[in-house]
Amino acid sequence: MIKISIQQEDFDVSSEINSMNSKTIGAIATFSGIVRDSSESSSLISLTLEHYPGMSEAALKKIANAAKREWSLEAVRIIHRVGRLLPEDTIVFVGCASAHRQAAFDGCRFIMDFLKTDAPFWKSEETQEGSFWISEREKDKKASESWLLKNT
């Protein structure tokens, strides 16, 4: 079971985890990405997320499918929020359910690494000094490239 949502509204993590549960699952790993109050330069007022509708859903689905196949995951849940968010708001949620814990952890990490480089979302930061588009992080590129190396 793969479920992908791109939405403005907040959501309840407990319900998402419950929806992944079943009698054959032994492990659920999750990741929540949170808005921090500091930007690259100064303190942050808000974060706005833009996406490419259609392509963003397809990209997340492709990443989820790859993870599900690689680790025989029983359920994958991805929620990516868009629009204007405030510090402490959740930006993204990834959940992976599996019979065993290593598969759940690996799947979750793989999805986050590729989501950072392969899904068409863009962040702009509103600070006291104005609004700025966030630039690509070299670290994120390396994180997703490291998975490719392992699989060749």
Binding site: D118, A119, W122, W133, S135
Partner: protein
């Protein structure tokens, strides 16, 4: 051809999409960009550094030498920063 712009590419151009009938010689992403740069100062600014530009054809990431047809949906945007 339907062309979409996102993030600071759109901010520079001033709008988020346009329909264009390209001249015959525009057959790749790179050739499309050269053609678009002639349309306005905003287009020229947006495509000033092509290392900072990513492209998608029919909602799939593609390289800048990818071939195009008039029925394609093409999108230009900065490297992604979601998650």
């Amino acid at each position: 051809m339907k062309i979409l712009y996102f993030a600071w590419v759109r901010d520079n151009i001033g709008y988020s999409q346009e329909e264009l009938s390209c001249p015959e010689h525009v057959r790749t992403i790179n050739q499309l960009v050269e053609y678009l740069k002639l349309q306005s100062e905003g287009h020229a600014r947006a495509f000033n550094d092509m290392n900072a530009i990513r492209a998608a054809r029919n909602q799939q990431f593609v390289t800048h030498d990818t071939k195009l047809s008039d029925a394609d949906e093409v999108a230009f945007f900065p490297p992604v920063t979601g998650g």
